[in-house]
Every structure is written in C-alpha cells, then in structure tokens.
Symmetry: C2
Subunit: 281 residues, 2 copies
C-alpha cells in the first residue's frame, strides 16, 4: 500500500496506470464498516483501489465540528491495508486549497434543501472537493454510501452535468445490530444518547411498514415518524422529509417510489438516516 | 478532418488517442484570424488538434445576442480544414445541457468585476462549459485568446483550483490593420461605427504611451482614455479599468505591471479590448 500526501504526486503516480481500472473511495477518515463496504466493492470491481482521507474544511460551516472531527489516521491506514487498498491519498488542506482558491462547483436547487437548509454551503464544499479529487485521480468508478443520500444524488447530478467520465456506484447503508446507521459521528454519543439514537432507524422502519400496509399520504407518515422520535428526551428533529429520489422535490402522495430522509440532533450530535422506497404503487 | 456532434462520441474517439498529445481550441465559431492563431499554435504543439464550435447559451444574458450571434458553420469548417484541424466538435445545446442540468462552476470574486458587472452570470456560463469540454476532450493543452483577458484569468484560476490536468496557453490579441481587435462581433458594425471602433485600441495605445513616459496614477490615465473615447459619437463607455493581472483588483498606482481593460458600446455593439503592462517600474 502506497501512502501519498501530495496532489501532484498522486496524479503522476496514477497517470502511470492508465491501462488499469481504478476504483476510488473518497472519505473523511474515521473509517467504519460503511466505508469498508465501499472499499470491498471497489476491490472486487477494479485493478487498483484508491482511498482518500481528507477532512474537507470547505464543507463545514462556522459552528460545525471541523476541528473535533475524529482523525484516527493510524487506525484508518491499518484498516485500508487489511482491505487491500493500493493507494491512500491523505493531503493537507493547504495543498488542496491554495491561498487564491476561488472556484466552487454548485449543484443548484439540490443543495439548498434537506441537509442544505441547516448546513448552507455544505454541498458546495462537498461537490467542489469531489470534482477536485476526480480530476486528480481519474477513477473509472466512484464509490459512495447511501447513508449520505442527498450527497449521492448531488454528486451523480454533478458527474452527469459536467461530463465527468466516471461511473458512480452507491452502496447500501451499513447498520449497527440495533439499526443505527454507521457514522463517524456516532463516537460523539454518550451511552444514553447512543441508546436513543436508534430512533432514527426505527422511525424509518415505521414509515416502511406504514407504506407496506398501504399508506400513501406523506404528511400522515411524517407525523407518525415525528411522534415516535419526540418521545426520546435527547432527540431534536432537524427535518423529516419525503422527496423525489432524483430531483429531491417534496412528494405529497407516494406513487413512484421516494426517498424518506431525516436529520435529528441527539444531544449535540446531528445524525442523518434515510430509506429509499423503490415503488410505492 | 473528423466532424463530431455527439459528446459521447468525441469522448470515445479521443480516448483511443490517449498516447497522443491533444491541443484544444474552444470557440463559438465565426472564426477569424484571432481564432486561427490559436489553432496554428495548437497545430505546432500537439499531435492532434481539436476545435469546438458551440454558441453556449449559458453565457448569454436575457437581453444579449445569443440568437443573432453569427453561425457561419460551412465557412468555419473550411477554415479548420485548411489549418489542419483533426477534430471539429460542434454539439447542439440540448446534448450538452440536459433538461435536469443544475451544476455550475463559479470562480467567485473574479466573475463579478469588469465585464461581469454588466454581464451577470456570463463567466459562470463560460467556466461551466469549459469545464464540461475539458472533461469530454481531456486535452494536454488549452488555447485561449488574450482578447478575452478576464476569461483567460478566470479559466486559469479554475484549472488550478479544480486540479484539472491541462496547460493553459494564452495567445496575443490579433488586430486589424488600424488596430481594432479581431472579434466575431465586429460584423455587427456599420461602416461609420467600424471607423469609430478603432478608438478602443487607440485609448489603450495612449495609456501605454503615458505609462512609458512615466505616468503611474491610474485615475489620471483612465481619465485621458475616457476623454479620447467620448469624442466618438457612436461610443458609450461600459467600463475602463486598470487592475491586477491575477486577482483583478483595481490598481491605484502602477508598480508591478497591470491589466488595462475596457468595454465600449459602439452603437449597439459591445466591444472589449485590453493591454497588459508587464512591468510598470
């Protein structure tokens, strides 16, 4: 496994392997089984697997957890080695954002809804760093997690709109035994919060059950989810929404499938989760 | 010479030539000697030369000349053939901007000044289409004209900020005998306007002379330029500015070189021109 810090160098290195297929897993480190499921799929599909580890300042807002975001680099590298990763790219911010940096990529209309409402500028930061990484690494396949559903929708849109020659694969959410979606931010939870955090996935399960039993009116479904969540003392709902899987517009009545997404603060920790309903008819 | 309309096809074709060097000249057609100087340089530097001809709707404002912009395709193709171009890519808008298109690249801070003031959204459109074309064509070298000075500054910034692996070459302005900078929009001028249009380059020459003779105070230089231009009946000044060549900030006193840029309406036709002062000391 090669460790590369310099953007110029990773680009040069991978340019030598243009005859090989490259699978790319962009991460902010603090790797968990969710990330590893992406790495394993990349390992299956490609000659080379590149993992980037970069806590991207451009996607954090002023009051957010950029500084305290976990950075267990040694542990991350050990996990990558175990999974057979070929290249780990772990740049420092100043090498990716020069002093004069002024260019941002924005997926307009998809970036201001759902998580974008309480995190203005977040997706502009995400999309910009992904565009940069794709230009440095030029993978044939890009692996993303369904956990960050809005991010996946936005990046797929960006790749299509900017004619970036990469195939995007979105892999299923990996969960703890009790249903909590794996997240690097779960480490922030104390033991009481950890127990109550399961309510996100429970609310989604409830929604899935209601829909299975014929519910179609999203207002009613969201009310039932809300009622379940507010019973937990540490929970404060940021949003619960049922939207179209492609354009993220709110859906009133479930007809052709939808994305049920929510963000809930458990104590001070903001968690997200989601469920895709493939076909509501 | 191959003519290719489909984005998918140009990408596939050029992917077969990855061992060759590719020079790319993006244009909106209506080719003149300015464009041809870029093509010739690209011909000298590279194995393959790709010219794109695309009047990009995203860079025209509501009241602008998108519809009437000249589109002499046959003549353009003949010129490309004569210059030894290998591929002409001439897509139609709907193949580059799908119905759901929502992604834009923006070079913040550089796009709102100079021409950006009277053409809001213009550079967002320019930068987005260039990013798209670079992703489709993957040239080693990109050729731009100094005539569009702000565009060149912004595209160079974008290429660096987004880590796009391409070298940008900016070629000198090509002028008519009397000094008028070559532009596809010069065909809009009637014979009287055509004569008066020379005042843009005359004002720049005057500025150059003044600086050669020791003038450093930009306010004074710009006043002298203004006085010269307003003598022409058909001329209405959009802006005259003296700015830093990299960050486009206004310069009060010329010390380390600068960009003198102006936009003037001659009748209904908006023309631009500029002069780079390499070193003011």
């Amino acid at each position: 496994m090669r460790l590369i810090k310099s953007p110029r160098k990773i680009s040069e290195e991978l340019n030598k392997c243009r005859d090989k297929s490259i699978g790319f897993v962009p991460t902010m480190g603090a790797l968990h089984k969710g990330h590893l499921s992406l790495v394993r799929q990349a390992r299956k599909d490609n000659d080379f697997v590149v993992v980037s580890i970069f806590v991207n300042p451009a996607q954090f807002g002023p009051g957010e957890d950029f500084k305290k975001y976990p950075r267990p680099l040694k542990k991350d590298l050990a996990l990558c080695r175990k999974e057979g990763v070929d290249y780990v790219f772990y740049p420092v911010p100043k090498d990716l954002y020069s002093r004069g940096h002024r260019t941002y990529v924005n997926v307009e209309g998809l970036s201001e809804v759902l998580c974008g409402k309480s995190r203005p500028g977040h997706f502009r930061g995400v999309v910009t760093i992904v565009a940069k990484l794709l230009n440095l690494i030029h993978p044939g396949k890009l692996y993303l997690g369904q956990k960050d559903a809005q991010q996946a929708v936005i990046i797929k849109r960006m790749v299509e709109d900017l004619n970036i020659p990469v195939t995007v694969r979105v892999m299923p959410i990996i969960r703890e035994k009790d249903g909590l979606a794996m997240s690097s931010r779960n480490v922030y939870l104390n033991s009481r919060e950890r127990k109550e955090a399961v309510v996100l996935s429970q609310a989604l399960k409830l929604a899935g059950l209601l829909i299975n039993n014929g519910a179609r009116d999203t207002k009613r479904i969201m009310r039932r989810m809300r009622e379940l969540i507010v019973r937990k003392k540490s929970a404060r709902i940021d949003y619960i929404e049922i939207v179209d899987v492609v354009n993220l517009n709110p859906v009133k009545r479930i007809v052709n499938g939808c994305l049920i997404a929510l963000a809930v603060r458990i104590g001070k920790t903001r968690l997200i989760d989601n469920l895709i309903i493939r076909d509501g008819s």
